[in-house]
């Protein structure tokens, strides 16, 4: 009984923290910068496939984990400079354009790697005994990585000059530019950072699931919901959002079917947004 409970709690924590890792990139690009990047799921996908490709090249697991975010961050930089910057004042259009980019990325992955699924071997296949149940060490590693990435992101945004400049740019572009901040470069850098986080999430979770072209979709939507229901934009709020969305879905799925669990989470998210509507009044966009 205790072992069952421990397993449920561990699985829930695992789901929440994995979701947090995916949602963290969105917290920067969507929550902070206000850009809805529908290619975020495909950036997650790119991270996982970059990992697969780097392993094929003979580089080990840790190099893959390190280089995949760099590669995806570069892809994010290009997307910001080539597409998003040009349609900054047309928010709905940037949704459609980034969705087109996502479609192209996903299909390019299919063409390069085939529609079948790939696997990445975890660096440690051992399990550890926790409260009477055995749990894979790699899952615990991903959970720790999610917490570490969140902590680093919070430090980066709140405690560094870069973070201050990014927040200043978001708060008032005109004033930031007038005081001499390189607002365009900050946009691109911040967006690339958020994208790199998606790549990190893809590379880190690749050993936990089958790497196939559809893997991005399953995480994109809960991640967006997490950022939407987050009580505050930025990394802190996203921790709460991911805990609410991932936790409730994971716990509900132990009682009802996964589809019903998703419906419940969606209904809950709408309810939360409705309760928060008063707070958001006046800046409805």
């Amino acid at each position: 009984m205790l072992a069952d409970l421990a397993l449920v709690l561990l699985d829930t924590a695992n789901r929440v923290l994995t979701l947090l890792l995916v949602a963290l990139g969105l917290a920067v690009t969507f929550g902070l910068m206000g850009i809805v990047n529908l290619a975020h799921g495909e950036f997650f996908l790119l991270g996982a496939y970059a990992h697969v490709a780097l392993e094929r090249l003979g580089l080990g697991f840790w190099w893959g984990l390190l280089l995949a975010p760099v590669f995806v961050g570069a892809a994010g930089w290009i997307l910001e400079v080539v597409v998003i910057r040009r349609i900054q004042d047309r928010p709905l259009d940037s949704l459609v354009a980034t969705w087109g980019v996502g479609l192209a990325i996903k299909q390019a992955v299919v063409l390069l790697f085939g529609p079948a699924s790939h696997t990445v071997a975890p660096p440690f296949a051992t399990t550890v005994a926790i409260a009477g149940t055995s749990y894979p060490v790699y899952r615990l590693f991903v959970m720790a990585l999610a917490l570490a990435a969140t902590g680093l992101t919070i430090l980066l945004l709140l405690r560094t000059p870069f973070g201050l400049m990014v927040r200043g740019t978001v708060a008032d572009r005109g004033l930031a530019a007038a005081t001499g901040l390189p607002v365009r470069r900050l946009d691109a850098l911040a967006f690339a950072y958020g994208s790199a986080l998606a790549g990190l999430a893809g590379a880190a979770t690749a050993p936990l699931m089958s790497v196939d072209p559809q893997m991005g979709v399953g995480f994109l939507l809960p991640a967006f919901l997490s950022v939407l229901v987050a009580p505050a934009s930025g990394a802190f709020g996203t921790v709460v959002g991911a805990a609410v969305v991932g936790g409730s879905e994971s716990l509900a799925a132990t009682v009802v079917s996964p589809v019903v669990a998703q419906l419940l989470v969606l209904a809950g998210a709408v309810l939360l947004l409705r309760l928060a509507a008063g707070r958001r009044y006046g800046r409805e966009r």
Binding site: V83, G102, I105, Q107
Partner: protein, 338 residues
């Protein structure tokens, strides 16, 4: 763009009306299918282009219409007779009811525009497809097959609408009527109010317009159009399957409307016929490269032709398209031009 120039629409419908004289049966069947998708595109052009509600779940209402038609035609709804005509009548009504309830839940939570709305509609579409896949009553992932076609009593026995020509004429009439009604609405004062809410909901509210009511009206009405298209689709092909509800078709419709032009229903229709036509011609040849090309085309169109390819041409003939056709941007003034 508020009012379509009438000449291009007349030419468009005249060409399609004369098509049966020259087109072979297979082409008519294909055109009939694409006109059904055209209804979906009209519905999306209304919610997205006019009301500024970028919907990623418009196929949900197409699919729900198709499923309701199939359920009624197969007699799978207890207490109701198995009747295709009743199905065709109820398909748009059911889709509209669904949209009304979902729209009310989202809009009254002040999820009325922009990112939150788009994400919520995305989630709705994905969940709807999964519901259909997991429900045995809806046929699971195989969907429902053997849906009986529409039939009319004829002196020499019942006449079933299965041949390309009668099906084409049915789809032609339905799509043309919907297009006419939509164009009239868009040119009417009510259509101008819808655009006022799109351009600045807060200002519209201060002028005494209820944004929620107008958005709900458009969302519900557009769902009825999509539901009609779905019902006709099921009547035409005799089967329904979960992909009709899902994200895939919703975003495909987004491509048609973006490429054609969301500002005008005619442009959205032409976009649908052109994109689907090119897909039929090149899709088999391009295979996996087709979605890749589609993705890049969408990006290019959004960057270079914000009003769409056809929409841009139409605008050159008629009045100029406002610089911000996306709507919702604060700096855009309320345009109450009719």
């Amino acid at each position: 763009m508020s009012r379509e120039p009438p000449l291009p629409a007349l030419v468009f419908w005249a060409v399609l009306g004369l098509a049966p004289l020259v087109a072979p049966g297979w082409l008519l069947a294909q055109l009939a299918q694409h006109l059904g998708y055209g209804l979906l595109a009209l519905s999306l052009a209304w919610v997205w282009g006019q009301a500024g509600l970028l919907s990623f779940c418009q196929a949900l209402f197409f699919g729900s219409g198709a499923y309701l038609f199939a359920l009624l035609a197969l007699g799978r709804i207890p207490g109701l007779p198995d009747s295709p005509w009743l199905g065709l009548l109820c398909a748009p009504l059911f889709s509209a009811l669904l949209a009304f309830l979902l729209g009310l839940a989202l809009l009254s939570a002040r999820i009325g525009s922009g990112a939150a709305w788009a994400v919520m509609t995305l989630v709705l579409g994905v969940i709807a497809e999964r519901v259909a896949v997991t429900s045995p009553w809806l046929g699971g992932s195989n969907g429902l097959v053997g849906v009986p076609p529409l039939a009319v009593p004829w002196p020499s026995g019942t006449f079933e609408l299965v041949d390309p020509l009668p099906l084409y004429l049915l789809l032609f009439a339905a799509t043309a009527l919907v297009h006419l009604a939509l164009a009239r609405h868009i040119a009417s004062p009510a259509g101008a109010l819808v655009r006022a809410v799109r351009d600045d909901a807060l200002r519209a509210a201060h002028l005494g317009i209820d944004p929620l009511r107008l958005r709900l009206f458009v969302f519900t009405g557009a769902a009825a159009i999509a539901g009609l298209g779905g019902g006709l689709f099921a009547a035409q092909f005799g089967f329904v399957a979960p992909p009709l509800l899902g994200l895939g078709l919703s975003t495909e419709a987004l491509v048609w409307v973006a490429v054609g032009g969301r500002g005008s229903p005619l442009a959205a229709l032409v976009g649908t016929l052109v994109v689907k036509g090119v897909e039929e011609l090149l899709g088999r040849w391009l295979e996996a490269w087709w979605p890749l090309a589609m993705g890049l085309v969408v990006v290019a169109v959004v960057l270079a032709f914000p009003a769409g390819l056809v929409g841009g041409l139409l605008a050159r003939r008629g009045r100029p398209v406002p610089a911000d056709v996306a709507g919702g941007a604060r700096r855009a003034a309320v345009r109450t031009s009719s």
